[in-house]
Symmetry: C2
Subunit: 211 residues, 2 copies
Amino acid sequence: MEHKEISKSVLKRLPIYLAYLKGMPEGGSPYISATALAAALGMGEVQVRKDLAMVSDGGRPKVGYLREGLIGDIQQFLGYDNLTDAVLIGAGKLGQALLGYTGFQEYGLNILAAFDVSPSPGTEGGKPIYPISRLEGFCRTYKVLMGIITVPAEHAQEVCDQLIACGIKAIWNFAPVHLEVPAGILVQQENMATSLAVLSMHLQAQIKEKK
Amino acid sequence: MEHKEISKSVLKRLPIYLAYLKGMPEGGSPYISATALAAALGMGEVQVRKDLAMVSDGGRPKVGYLREGLIGDIQQFLGYDNLTDAVLIGAGKLGQALLGYTGFQEYGLNILAAFDVSPSPGTEGGKPIYPISRLEGFCRTYKVLMGIITVPAEHAQEVCDQLIACGIKAIWNFAPVHLEVPAGILVQQENMATSLAVLSMHLQAQIKEKK
DNA sequence: TAGATTGTTAATCGATTAACAATC
DNA sequence: TAGATTGTTAATCGATTAACAATC
């Protein structure tokens, strides 16, 4: 299916559908309707239908989508069928957690190695940890396009600049700072504080209500 | 300042302003304007001004906001001035990373303890790890309202149900599954797959362009 | 004063939702 | 056929942006 223009909000919902579809119990019907998917995920029926129509044309009236086919279509759309190689900078607790997480393969992400200013020698989850001095050579050799930043906030910009100098085009930033980058480089900010703010407000409202 | 109705999108930007304001170098002007803040963060000038107006009335024409005062206003608005106690379920890599992260205090979050089905005895980052059997007693004793789920996807719903049974009102879920909860309970989904999707699409577009 | 900045009111934009026609 | 489901077109809603008046 040809890609139409797609909004960021649709893009963010696709992995949610994908996770649900993959997690469905085997043995049931091989079909799933947008209606059923919407109900299971607590989302709007029309929204789901529209989203699915954007990535797949396998929908059949009265029947719905073939589950397997839909999974394939979403994966292909998201580019999960060809793995993206990435490097991770900062092998602290969070960095190690990400390194050790085996689920990223399913999302098309393949972390090749980690880099750290003072790497405790050895590997983590089967992935090597190198000194940061070897970063550029590594990135050039393997033509790495994605970098994951898990260093403390105060070093994030510096690391970011290094990654860009190494030819990286997409950055997944877990440090709670805004990164300044040239045009053409995408920064995806993973901001825990943002999520916390939403939760915190909810609890405040709860507590107030109780009074 | 009295709280007006606030949209989720504003709520998500406030912590970003806060982080920047806190990280500003000392010694400069004690004032900061919405204009300057917008420029530094690469955001719309009017948007920032409107957001700030929502949480503070310390803005003075020609001068801007007193940095200290603005920090205080945002923190108060987000409820970061009184700590929220939380429990964490699932002391795997990710759970340990969160337990060990000292920065949450700044966001008003205080993780009291972690729980796990088979806890390796001892503590992590000064926080105790208990067997899950002690969860309910603990939550009741300390009147905990927030739970953080870092267990594998297949156990997330079960843990979620337990937390709710313990009186928890807000859940921060790191497992990549949709949680079914009764009304009045807030689930904040921390979905890495979502961020990855955005990055993945960007790289695909990049690669295509190159051809 | 002039100019930078604030806060507000109106216009635009985009995404979600509702209504409906098409299909098996 | 009747009914469930699809996909599309139009209406609504909300958030962002633009224009402007107010202030020090």
